[in-house]
Assembly symmetry: C2
Homo-oligomer: 413 residues x 2
């Protein structure tokens, strides 16, 4: 047995205990984990300092910021665990129930997925978030964080496992892969005997690699090439606010807008005003030929721009001839994460909302709301951009499966 | 563009039309397909005769039987299409709805998956079943049947496409891959740009190959290494009937029982009687050492037997020391399709039903009921043995995804 197979076997065994435990045991375990994170703040910060020190020189300032913990950030991690603990238990819900003419009693009941593998990058808070969501949904987890956060992740999982050891749940409900080499990621992707699902959390490169190579079922998350289409019947002032918010309130996240499509009949009025507002935040515009004529400071967009997720103060701009052109463009280039129409024409809105096939489709609101917390769905383990199993924000309710429980009195067929 | 990429693009375009069509259009299209199958019976039989003739000598009699169509079998195919047409439309259902404190109106609404790829083997009725289920759920499909059924599948898809041409739906909602080489299957598994899901229907080898190699999200179907555990508190007569039915009523299907686990306290009474009954159908028993002592005609089971799906008149038999031993054995060797306990002890039943992690878990009934039709779930495209997206029988209700439709009045974050 390799080390990972051994972890898989331990996780599978822990999952067997976890799946039949009462809600109260899981809730109490999460409360203990939250307290332990607070109590062991100093140890976690010491470990984190090692990572941050090692990262200086090799990582960008924004990556170092993502990696860095503080007392306040650890308190937020503990708060997030408590919030998850308070969510209703998603396991054991009877989703459908019927008695067949032959007397068989059939219940479709929610059950945990089993063992979740999560591959993520350099944000240490992901470690406690994912572990808490998995435990709440009755799943064991095998976490593999980036090497940049190695000491932090070891400290955080150590604290969580210690907390579990004083509960009825096995410590092996939470395990961290210590080997952060490419080989360990590759082995994890092939661990079909032990993992029920693999969730990559991170940049487009990581996600593509997992989707292309994994034999374990994957939930594809996160890439957001999000569009806002400003219709000819848009309220100009509303459109200015929505685009400005969706582009600039937090450009590094997946629900930030990356592309602006504008109906040709409104472009001459709207685009110069929009450019002026975006200039407040030094947003670089990359525009198609006709938009460039209205935007003297814009660069010319290349074909590659239309499918790119910038995650930066950059926005692609295109003038379209009609709502159908906008829908066609989105169909072709969107990552189908979040796409929006701004219009006062309800028929146009209905057409857009029905035709655009994305995880979240918006009418007159910022794409930044595609977030489990914002939508009232609880904390999320990621935002799914695929169509199987779960789409959009994935919280505890999406970390379960179901089974049919069938009771009879000797029925045969 | 390769031929398959071209088919993918046509399917994607057809799916865009299909996803916004009314229920009535889909229902009418399915009715026309059913009539066309009946009207063109003679053409389909002529094509089928070519396949059957070519198969003589190379395929086994049971495979030739699966391949062969008759007037009656074509009538059953048409009936199945009509049954699917009458099912409630699974698309456009509002699954959840809420108004957030900021006034955003959020609807979680069911939508089609998009384009389904289906790879199957030599049963031509699968062609019309899968196409009907996909259309009902608003999905375009790309079908790839086995080369043995090539002429039959060409004829059946030709008839269905002709029928669609007199409706508002594009004929390209249904396409057949004419190239039945291994290369075309491999290309299909990598067609991530066009396929939203790939469903293999067939033997264990086909399914393993798709799960291991596909980059497109897969739903794993079908392998059934199903267990019946006869508890010490079992009603002997009921246990005899259930095991006999589950093993012998149709041994070639995935919900047939393959393994019999018997509590040691009841084995001496139950096993000889069971063996006598199974001998009526010449069932070969492969037993562990202690069961062999009670079963003079049994062969010794090898370790490999415990995980095998026989699909034949063969049954593995093992004596266990306790219900926990039975649960452990099932955890280790079951394909987690359908597993059953026979007992009059409700506490034992509850323990088994909660602990065994299979798509269907039974108390006092034959495993043969794991079937969409039998469970009142409608026709099925396959029986999922994985935990993501759908588990157990997958009908039209499992061929959909959902999206969040969010309407506002200028909300920003």
């Amino acid at each position: 047995m390799t080390n990972l197979e051994n972890m898989g076997a331990l996780a599978k065994s822990a999952a067997r205990t976890l799946r039949i435990e009462d809600s109260s045991v899981k809730t109490e375990a999460l409360e203990l984990i939250a307290s332990a994170l607070l109590q062991k703040k100093a140890d976690i910060l010491t470990a984190n300092a090692l990572d941050v020190e090692a990262a200086k020189g090799s990582l960008s300032p924004s990556m170092i910021d993502r990696l860095s913990l503080s007392e306040e950030r650890i308190e937020s991690m503990a708060d997030a665990v408590i919030a998850v603990s308070k969510w209703p238990d998603p396991v054991g819900q009877v989703l459908e129930e019927r008695v067949l003419p032959n007397g068989l009693h059939v219940q479709k009941t929610s059950v945990p997925l089993g063992v979740c593998g999560i591959i993520f990058e350099a944000r240490p808070n992901v470690t406690s978030d994912c572990a808490a969501l998995c435990i709440k949904a009755g799943n064991a987890c095998i976490l593999r964080g980036g090497k940049e956060a190695f000491h932090s992740n070891m400290a955080i999982t150590g604290v969580m496992r210690d907390a579990l050891s004083s509960t009825a749940l096995p410590a092996d409900c939470i395990q961290l892969v210590e080997d952060t080499s490419r080989e360990s990621a590759a082995e994890m992707m092939a661990l079909t005997e032990y993992l029920d699902v693999l969730i990559p959390r991170g940049g487009a490169g990581l996600i593509r690699s997992v989707v292309d190579n994994a034999k374990v079922p994957v939930i594809e998350t996160g890439v957001g090439n999000c569009h806002i289409y400003v219709d000819r019947a848009a309220d100009i002032s509303m459109a200015l606010d929505i685009v400005f918010n969706a582009k600039t309130s937090r450009p590094s996240v997946c629900n930030a807008a990356e592309k602006l499509l504008v109906h040709k009949e409104i472009a001459a009025v709207f685009l110069p005003a929009m450019a002026e507002k975006l200039a407040e935040k030094d947003v670089e515009l990359r525009a198609d030929e006709s938009a460039c004529r209205l935007l003297p400071h814009a660069k010319a967009a290349s074909e590659g721009d239309w499918s790119r997720e910038y995650l930066d103060y950059i926005m692609g701009v295109k003038i379209v001839n009609s709502i159908d052109d906008a829908i066609d463009h989105i169909e072709r280039y969107s990552s189908h994460h979040s796409d929006c129409i701004v219009t006062s024409d309800q028929a146009a809105a209905d057409r857009f909302l029905a035709s655009v096939d994305s995880a979240a489709v918006y009418h007159n609101a910022s794409t930044r709301f595609t977030d489990g917390g914002e939508l009232g769905l609880g904390a999320e383990i990621g935002i799914s951009t695929q169509k199987l199993h779960a789409r959009g924000p994935m919280g505890v309710n999406q970390l379960v499966s179901y089974k049919y429980v069938i009771s009879g009195s000797g029925q045969i067929r």
